[in-house]
Amino acid sequence: MKHSSTNEYLLYTENLGKQFNGITVLENINLTIKKGEIHAILGANGAGKSTLIKIIDGIHTEYIGDIYVKNQKVKPANTEEARLLGIGMVHQELSLVSELNVAENIYLGRLPRTTWGMVHYKKLHQDSAKILQELNMSVKTTEMVSNLSIADRQMIEIAKMLSMNTDIILLDEPTSALTENEVKRLFYTMENLKKQGKGIIFITHKLDEIYATSDRVTILRDGNQIDTINLDKNDPDLETKLISLMTGTEQGEIGEIYPTKKNRIGSPIMEVSNFSSKGKFENIHFQIRRGEILGISGLKGAGRTELARAIYGADPKDTGILELNGEIVEIRQPIDAIHHGIGMVTEDRKKEGFVGLLGVKENISLTTIKDVLVNGFLSRKLEREKTQTYVSKLKIRMASEDARVKNLSGGNQQKVVIAKWLCTDCKVLILDEPTRGIDVKAKSEIYKIMSDLAEQGLAILFISSELPELIAMSDRVLVMSRGRIVSELSGTQITKENIMKSTFQESAVQKEVG
């Protein structure tokens, strides 16, 4: 794309792209940021939003294409260089030093010095106070950051950028941890910065926030720039338009990677009632049946993983009753869940799923080590035989049963983690993002395994952020948003549009539900 009049842009990219381990996560992005503009970036989980701004911020340094700042081609090699170019980012996880005070944080690494080389505290606090004033902030410059609210900390991050004369401000989901009033104040600040001629890139999942703030919006889907449009706030079809751009419609290839499901849904096996955990999820009720694949959809932070971990006993819950086969069971830690026939494949397999230093066979035996004992002692022969069964069943590719799991590919690692549960007599299996970060072929194999397990009568709770797989595999889908189940879809209701609608219009749906 040629930019005819590039002068109006603070920053633009030309065919920007990025690959991770040979998988394209971002392709041909031509983003333009004007002076005095709030530019929203919209997309589902994994659409490439964070990757895009991380490239601009100098965090990802290997990319395809070019970045121009004020018409100069640049290649920020780290965040420091990005700062010098006038680019600053407010991260989802704030990066302030909580044991230092406000002023010290604003000028961290750039503290003013006296002629003697000591810190010039007077100047430090004066300069900081001036910046805070610009932001209409009333906190003292001597206040410890650890005493500030999340919203104030975010403001301090913004203040830090202003102190560096940042022109392009990247906000990565800044409202996710804020209250309504704090959001309003943030928007007010954004508006002020816009008036000062700054360019703001604003990432959010929430459509109403985009309407409230943004001038233009770029929609990403699967790493592609679908469109960049001017926000016409009077357009009644805007919402439908944005959702359809975000989800896309083509579903052509689905048939090939998903198995034909032959599972028959039986009697109820597990019922979750009144599950709540403060700040994570609230008042969750649902039931799952034998042989059923129950999908749970929702955005990051909607409470899906937290709910699953509470069911499994990995994290505590405040209230909630779990019934298995009509009997109330108490699950306080994973060992209790396993005892009652519940297994869980966690979201972060490297951290919680497998022991990388141990071999394939040791990992598969983790949950059922008692099955490979002869006279009370481990039998390597038995263990090897058992491993071989699962290796051929799940088509795990490895050098030997002793190969360390950390050296396997992501897909094979995931199969080892699943094998760990297949050998237990579990009746309910929770799969949290089971296909994350693995290639298409392995994904397809995992779908097949899921389908086979359901056919054998296993109830599967399937958490996924990838709508196509969720739609293809689930018999029923629960949509979660802000810690609640906002809708339940089954049969032909399970469509991208319906899921997206529930996800993004949670306020409206919540009213309907009551």
Binding site: I335, F354, V355, L358, L366, T367, L378, A399, K406
Partner: protein
């Protein structure tokens, strides 16, 4: 084997299909083979340099010298594989000797003497108790084992000084000294016990669920917990076992020096840990074995003994141990990082 056209999985399969020779080369675990090669090397070196080195007397001598550190090293091997540490081992060791000695003789604050077997039991229970406390602090109070056992070290030393008045205790019954000083078929009892403890621990680590789960916890505590392993229970047990083994070493020491000494553990906090690491057990947990510990213990023992025979003093011995240790740890760490 099915070949896929996907470039990523294809390269995986190609790796599997490598020539068997290269595979065999790759299969060699340098962290295991390295220390063994080192041990063989110094044994050959010292046999050439000193005619006395390979004599039966000297070999038995080496084994006797390494037995006490060796049993402590075995105890701490469990702990290190589980990715924890125990710094109180050299405090538990003399304390158990002092308690056992006091009970057997009615010395120190003990008003009367009890049978030797009761004394031994008391010594072992002392070790178990302090190990249990360290384990509880680590597992339940979530105090890192480094700090928990460091604190325990001071607590034990304080207790020991108070209990003994910093005085040695003589008159240990002969039946008790037999463990540290006696012989069976010409072999020192202390060596026989070391070998038995080693064989049992090697078996526990390789063949029991307990042993396997220690590796799992050391390799990835969170995954172990999510797989239904009661991690807290294991931490408590492992530190308790380490305490018992150190107490055991203390009873042997009691017999070997013929008296209970507050200073019996001085300078022994770290050599057992050094021996474990020297043998190729990972500092970061999850990798290691009792066999590696045995190699490490022998490596250290042979080095000191050989240098002794060559007339090198304590200064040179320490210098050599330090150099060997740093080489061993460097290769260990590099090996761990590469894999």
């Amino acid at each position: 084997m099915q070949f896929s056209t996907d470039p990523k999985t294809l390269s995986n399969e190609l790796q599997v299909e490598e020539s068997s020779f290269r595979r065999a080369l790759k299969r060699i675990d340098y962290t295991t083979a390295g220390p063994i090669a080192g041990l063989v090397f110094i044994i050959i070196l010292f046999s050439i340099l000193s005619p006395h080195f390979l004599s039966v007397n000297n070999i038995v001598n080496i084994l006797r010298q390494v037995s006490i550190i060796g049993i402590m090293a075995i105890g701490v091997t469990y702990v290190i594989i589980m990715a924890e540490i125990d710094l109180s081992i050299a405090s538990i060791m003399p304390l158990s000797g002092i308690i056992a000695g006091a009970v057997a003789t009615g010395g120190y604050l003990m008003p009367f003497a009890l049978p030797v077997w009761v004394a031994i039991l008391c010594g072992l229970l002392t070790g178990a108790l302090f190990g249990l406390m360290s384990g509880f602090a680590t597992a339940k109070l979530k105090i890192p084992s480094f700090m928990a056992t460091l604190s325990m070290m001071f607590i034990i030393e304080g207790f020991m000084l108070w209990f003994s008045g910093a005085q040695p205790l003589y008159g240990i019954p002969d039946s008790m000294q037999w463990f540290g000083a006696g012989k069976v078929f010409g072999i020192p009892v202390i060596v026989v016990i070391f070998i038995l403890v080693f064989v049992a621990s090697d078996f526990v680590l390789r063949k029991t669920v307990f042993g396997r789960n220690i590796y799992a916890i050391g390799g990835n505590e969170e995954a172990a917990r999510m797989s239904g392993i009661n991690v807290d229970k294991y931490k408590i047990w492992v530190l308790t076992i380490c305490g018992i083994l150190c107490a055991f070493a203390g009873l042997l020491m009691l017999g070997r020096i013929g008296s209970a000494q507050v200073t019996a553990g001085v300078g022994l906090q770290l050599p057992p840990i050094a021996a474990v690491i020297l043998g190729g057990t990972s500092l970061f947990g999850g990798i290691g074995s009792m066999r590696r510990t045995l190699v490490g213990v022998l490596l250290m023992g042979v080095l000191v003994n050989g240098l002794n025979l060559l007339g090198v003093g304590a200064d040179g011995q320490k210098l050599a141990t330090g150099i060997v240790l740093i080489i061993a740890v460097a290769t260990n760490v590099m090996g761990t990082l590469k894999k």
